[in-house]
Amino acid sequence: MKQYEWINMLKVRGSVGRVGLPSPGTGRFYYQNKFGAGSNVVFGNPNSNFSAPTYIQTQYGNPYVTFEESLKKNIGLDVLLFHDKLSITADIFNDTRSNILTTRSASSFATYGATVPSTNYGMNYNQGYELSVMYRDQVKDFTYSVTGNLSFARNERRILDEAPGLASNLKATGTRLGTYFGYHVLGFYADQNDIDKSPVNKVTSFTSIPGDFKYQDINGDGIINNQDVMPIGHPNIPEYNASLNLQAGYKGFQLSVLFNGVTNVSSNVIFQSATLGQYYGPMLDRWTPDNPNPSRPASRPGLVANPNESLNDFMLQDASYIKLRNVQLSYSLPRQVLNRLRLNGLTILVSGQNLITWTKFYGLDPENTMTGNAYAPATTTIPTTKVLNFGLNLSL
């Protein structure tokens, strides 16, 4: 075995587990019906009317309600090599979550006439891997380590409460959590003639103008409306998460740098400021007759529901980013100096968070994905803040 001495540890792990999970938000007595006071109804003389109390069913219980179930499987590998200098941890997992408590309102007919209790019905499937590699070493007084993490997770909504007759482009079953549904852009309306011979855009009450997005009429009914959206882009939850952590120390100095990046994520882009009534800079490259291949559609008077601002695959942006998440540099005074000062410890440190972002996304922050297509809430999303700390740690 001598030739394998460079392997300090090699461990293969595996697990299969089935767990029951309480459904969020249902409370302990979800199996029961409950009754209580309802809104009043008015009878009598309008001048001195009598507000009659009513009595209603306040909870529609499901006597068959049970736990949600999660079947988790995982295979992992732990390796330590070269005198523990290199450590590798790898995992492959999948997780089938079933019996998810779901309101069957999309498949229950309105003729039933009441709230349908939630039933254990839905199923999600999640699979992926995680990999972590660390290398650390020491050269005399210089210590350093490099840690890289990479994870990938992809989920699929396997069973959802959806009406069987729902058009296939509107179905969320089979898509990932956080999937965007939006219009597919075919191009820009070149002129009025182009508008006239295209399906009518009824996305908003505004009539189309040249330079507006030409959306695809998916169901072919001659009208473009909310029935013509489809899954577009990546979900609003990143599928790849990666980080890189570098640490180094030399005598009293300690330096730590953390990068963090994600990809396979999309975020909507807004056109205009909600409060200022102004378009953002990229709108300079808007459609005009002289600029038929722009990055933005024609401009319209600000602050109105604009059909071009409805979620669509032209404007939905790749929200991948790499951020310099954290940097910290510290210096601890050596023992001899401390003794002279009659101190137990003195550390000076500088640290910063979210210092640099590398992204192609135009907007305040790729990290806060903008899921809606209404610009007002999107612009009020607060970006992550950049923080700089200076510190002095004194121990007496």
């Binding site: 019906n33 009754f35 209580g36 009595y55 039933y112 069987p164 009450s205």
Partner: protein, 558 residues
């Protein structure tokens, strides 16, 4: 030490005693079983009263309170295109935002379920003098008939459920019943309700608190309305006179009760608390100003409101006859297009606010000037280019009590009227005219309504067709903005003639010498769509998505 042992044993005893109770026991007062609820007559009757809450109970009920069915018609337009009105105006009735399609479908079935549950469970409740099973049963049957009629007049035949389903059956794909089956169901329920209920409000025990529940007379009024609907061109393509006869008889039965009469003053019809004209109303206590349909839907900022999103159109204004009883289209009527508001039907002055009329202590100014040399147009203070001011130079007066003004704490009554006696008279006149022609009875009924309004009698010797036109006009004017016009247009099959017509408004130009000139202008931006298949609403798309084929869509909406 002894003390300590004593204390300890006490604690143990208390714990032991308390443990004898089931500590998982629910809070008292929370009931978990419908049978339990129905053991108490008070709770049972309150459970039944909940059925009322599913009624349609106000005029402004679309987009919160910012839309009315009036805006679907040639009465008025929606200045700001509120979704729930705009979807109807543009013919997008399958859109989820068309709440008069989607919302009502759900709301009515919720009411029907509650009525069905009540009808089934009420027998289990012990009888007390207050728990009058006849009345309760009558109320539920009346309401069920009312709900099914609201569905019938929109969708035609619908799925009939007379028993509440178990939730496990909620996804059962049920076919629609036919129009005739639904109609029969309504008539069966309403006939039984009439026989069970107190006849009028006054016959309810303690009317001060119980009036305006369902009554026998309300049932009769509903029945008359249902039979009118069934006899109308929409459902009576063959022109079967027997259907009109039945409708006439149903209205005559109410007239013959001798319990109802017209309110003396038309202007008081919605605003008075009690009237012999009301057959059934939804009593509305004094209405506030801010955050209600008043300030947020009808009243422009210039009058202290937040926005005005309904403009009565010229199409409607032109329907008011001259005071002498002649339509303005009659060359001998004396109508002066340059003085259009002089000597009109007095109801015009009750229903519409127009340029230069005095309202809340000042003149309404919906004039504008011709552009000056710089091209600038000056507007009167109640007019302008903003979205939420009138687009037609008119404001709605009918549903805006004069006491309702900004800063005033006065609460003005404005009831939602389900049925009033004038409708019975005009139903009777219309049905009789269709069944037998313009006989004396027809004249008597229409003239009674006209007389109360301050209008002269209809001219003698009208043909049946002329009489029909006069009655239709009478209804348009008498029930203006009362959630009536839309349903009349649908049952008359006059959508193309009235709704798809260009909407018009009045441009009032203030001349430099202070006089006004009037021009009728078309409003292409407010053009409404009405196609032949729109006499029946579509079954909501969300509902059609659920079916595997049993539930069928109405023609033209597939």
């Amino acid at each position: 030490m002894n003390k300590f042992i004593y204390l300890l044993s006490l604690v143990i005893t208390i714990t032991a005693v308390s443990c004898q109770k089931d500590f998982l026991q629910r809070d008292v007062g929370i009931q978990t079983d419908l049978d339990q609820v129905f053991k108490d007559p008070l709770q049972a009757s309150r459970f039944g009263d909940f059925t009322y809450t599913f009624s349609i109970n106000d005029y402004g009920r679309l987009s919160g309170y910012k839309g009315m069915t009036s805006q679907f018609t040639d009465e008025s337009i929606a200045n700001n295109a509120q979704t729930e009105v705009a979807t109807m105006n543009s013919g997008q009735w399958l859109d989820g935002g068309a709440s008069d399609v989607t919302g009502i479908y759900t709301q009515m079935y919720r009411g029907i379920r509650n009525a069905n549950l009540m009808l089934k469970m009420m027998e289990k409740t012990p009888r007390t003098p207050e728990y009058n099973v006849n009345y309760i049963k009558g109320e539920q049957l009346y309401l069920r008939a009312y709900f099914y009629f609201e569905l019938l007049r929109r969708f035609g035949g619908v799925v009939i459920l007379t028993e509440a389903q178990d939730f496990t059956a909620a996804s059962e794909d049920l076919p629609r019943n036919t129009y005739d089956e639904t109609l029969t169901q309504i008539l069966t329920d309403v006939d039984q309700a009439i026989s069970l209920l107190p006849l009028t409000n006054a016959d309810w025990p303690n009317p001060a608190a119980q009036a305006n529940r369902a009554t026998g007379a309300a049932g009769m009024a509903l029945k008359a309305r249902v039979l009118m609907f069934d006899a109308s061109p929409l459902n009576n393509t063959a022109g079967d006179a027997a259907k009109w006869q039945k409708a006439a008889a149903a209205s005559k039965a109410i007239i013959d009760l001798g319990k109802y009469s017209l309110e003396a003053n038309y202007a008081n019809v919605l605003t008075i608390a009690n009237s012999n004209e009301y057959i059934r109303i939804w009593p509305r206590g004094g209405r506030g100003f801010i955050g209600t349909y008043l300030s947020d839907f009808l009243i422009p900022t210039s009058m202290g409101g937040a926005q005005s999103n309904l403009s009565p159109v010229q199409n409607h204004v032109d329907l008011y006859e001259m005071k002498n009883g002649k339509p303005i289209t009659d060359p001998t009527s004396g109508y002066d297009p340059q003085n259009p508001y002089l000597n009109r039907d007095p109801r015009f002055y009750v229903n519409i606010l127009y340029n230069n009329v005095t309202w809340q202590g000042r003149a309404i100014e919906t004039w504008q000037t011709e552009p000056n040399a710089q091209g600038v147009i000056t507007y009167g203070r109640d007019h302008g280019t903003a979205v939420s001011v009138t687009k037609t130079s008119y404001y709605l007066k009918r549903l805006w009590p004069e006491a309702s003004r900004s800063g005033s704490t006065a609460n003005a009554l404005l009831n939602y009227v389900f049925y009033r006696y004038a409708e019975v008279l005009l139903n009777y006149a219309e049905a009789t005219n269709e069944a037998t022609g313009p006989n004396e009875e027809v004249y008597k009924s229409v003239n009674a309504v006209r007389k109360r309004a301050g209008m002269p009698d209809l001219p003698e010797g009208l043909s049946k067709d002329d009489m029909r036109a006069r009655i239709w006009n009478e209804r348009a004017v008498e029930f203006a903005f009362e959630d009536m016009r839309w349903w009349d247009i649908l049952r008359w099959k006059k959508g193309a003639a009235y709704v798809a017509k260009p909407m018009t408004g009045m441009r009032v130009i203030k001349n430099t010498n202070g006089t006004f000139s009037y021009t009728v202008v078309e409003l292409p931006a407010f053009q409404k769509v009405f196609n032949e298949h729109m006499y029946l609403y579509p079954i909501p798309r969300a509902e059609m998505n659920k079916t595997s084929g049993a539930l069928k869509q109405n023609p033209g909406w597939e």
